[in-house]
């Protein structure tokens, strides 16, 4: 059974009199414990698509279903990790950020939330910084807290919007490794948006390629034996037909 089904989705937004189409006729499915990567150049509407899955935007055509239930509004069953480094609540410590997420969303009662918070802080190697306020952390640490917070909520699906894009190359590579490690420990279903081909190849089990303006599906690839040159070719050479590129 599909965990997430995106069915012929078109997303539009209006800016004054003009209507922009961000993505058009996008269809894909992700199964449980997929690490599904949406890859495309800037402006292909991949972040908009992820926000629609998160329930922040309603599709103007088509439907998005999670476990067969249509997505209507944001909710704690689909937890977001953003690219921005200001996604932690600055007025709460690392630990309280996670505890608040767990209790405010009604996922866990406080005693259990405390234990879970500590467990996930441990998992991302931040035990020493548990009582720190976010502004005292580095960019990589902040993103680790955000990931720990998202995973601790035990969502049906994790939505990651270029979570490592604001980090330096070294930290980025380390974080990718950590994410894979965390995913292998517990079988999370992840939808991961990126514009970096190497990152897509490293993270994804399956990769959806989107073209730019408006975003349309170029190809959907199974990540086995793929190389960057091949992905690049498919992404920027318009010859490939939809659906014809299963490798």
């Amino acid at each position: 059974m599909h965990k997430l089904a995106v069915d012929d989705v078109t997303l539009q937004y209006t800016n004054g009199k003009h209507t922009f189409t961000a993505v058009e006729h996008v269809t894909f499915q992700a199964v449980a414990s997929d690490r599904y990567v949406i890859l495309g150049p800037s402006g292909c509407g991949k972040s908009t698509l992820l926000r629609a899955i998160g329930g922040y935007i309603q599709p103007s055509k088509g439907a998005i279903r999670l476990d067969e239930k249509p997505v209507r509004a944001p909710g704690p069953d689909r937890v977001f990790v953003f690219q921005e480094l200001d996604q932690l609540l600055p007025w709460k410590t690392v630990r309280e950020n996670i505890v608040f997420a767990l209790t405010a969303s009604g996922r866990f009662p406080r005693p259990e939330a405390l234990a879970r918070a500590d467990k996930f802080i441990e998992k991302v190697n931040l035990a020493k910084f548990s009582a720190n306020y976010p502004h005292t952390l580095s960019g990589g640490m902040k993103q680790r807290v955000a990931i720990a917070r998202a995973m601790a909520m035990e969502p049906e699906i994790l939505l990651m919007d270029e979570p490592f894009a604001a980090l330096d190359a070294l930290t980025r590579s380390k974080m990718q490794e950590e994410l894979l490690q965390l995913c292998s420990e517990s079988k999370f279903t992840v939808v991961f948006v990126t514009h970096s081909i190497p990152e897509a190849l490293r993270i994804g089990t399956r990769i959806l390629l989107l073209s730019a303006q408006p975003g349309r599906v170029k190809a959907e690839l199974e990540n086995s034996g793929l190389d960057a040159a091949r992905v690049h070719e498919i992404l920027f050479d318009g010859n490939m037909q939809e659906g014809a590129a299963h490798v």
């Binding site: 998160g54 953003f82 609540l89 997420a101």
Partner: protein, 251 residues
């Protein structure tokens, strides 16, 4: 800190020296004379009564102003009309010194606390509303999305995400509002402060001037300064250190 204490002592010595050289207590009493007058006014209970009266009045006006600012901001944040209304009202009334409203307040509310509270509300309301509204508008879109992600109800989304996220601006509004209110109150009391038998600090200054007890006048002025410093540097500083400074949110 140490340097500032030294400077204060130097200033007091200059005051003392100049007043002695002038030798005219009706124009400028000496520093020591002022301190003696201050001490005897405190001992007699006259000054503490005035201070209590003034602070009580201030608190009433201040709290009422903040509550109204909250209502206005809520209205402005939820509708476009409300936002326009807030913008028009603040640009009209913010430049208007509150004390200029006192004559009309006296006509509307008569001699008494209510007129002063009205003027105080005017002093607090606009800067508090403007800053709070700007604070809410400035909340980062990412934080808003994070808040929505938890599926909070609207009231708890506001109190647990928006208010703390906007708190630096809210605190600024409270500080500016306080500064306006304090200056306005003393001025209003100087014009008329006696009501139902008890007068405030401004009235204390005014009355002592009428009786040519100039040392008491200076004592009253010192009290105004000290109270202002306490609130601005002690109370607001403490709040700031425990919140925005600790959270790394001060801009």
């Amino acid at each position: 800190m140490f340097r500032k204490v030294i400077l204060l002592i130097v200033l007091a010595v200059i005051w003392e020296g100049y007043a002695r050289w002038l030798a005219n207590p009706l124009l400028l009493p000496t520093f020591s004379e002022t301190l003696r007058a201050l001490a005897s006014s405190i001992a007699s209970g006259q000054l503490p009564r005035a201070v209590t009266f003034t602070l009580g009045l201030l608190l009433k006006g201040y709290v009422a102003g903040l509550v109204l600012a909250g209502i206005l901001t809520a209205f402005a944040s939820s509708t476009r009309t409300g936002a326009d209304l807030l913008e028009i009202l603040t640009s009209m009334f913010n430049p208007l010194p509150s004390i200029a409203l006192l004559p009309i307040a006296l006509i509307w509310f008569g001699l008494g606390d209510n007129s002063i509270i009205f003027v105080l509300i005017h002093a607090v309301l606009w800067s508090a509303a403007l800053n709070t509204y700007a604070g809410f508008r400035g909340v980062s879109p990412t934080l808003k999305m994070v808040g929505q992600n938890y599926g909070l109800s609207t009231p708890s989304y506001i109190t647990r995400i928006l208010v703390p996220a906007a708190f630096p601006s809210i605190l600024t509004g409270m500080k500016v509002g306080w500064a306006f209110a304090w200056r306005t109150l003393i001025a209003a009391e100087l014009v008329f402060g006696v009501s139902s038998g008890s007068g405030g600090l401004g009235w204390y200054i005014f009355e002592n001037k009428n009786q040519l007890l100039i040392a008491n006048v200076f004592g009253g002025l010192l009290t105004v300064i000290v109270l202002g410093l306490i609130v601005e540097n002690l109370i607001f500083k403490t709040i700031e250190n425990a919140t925005v400074r600790r959270w790394g949110m001060q801009n």
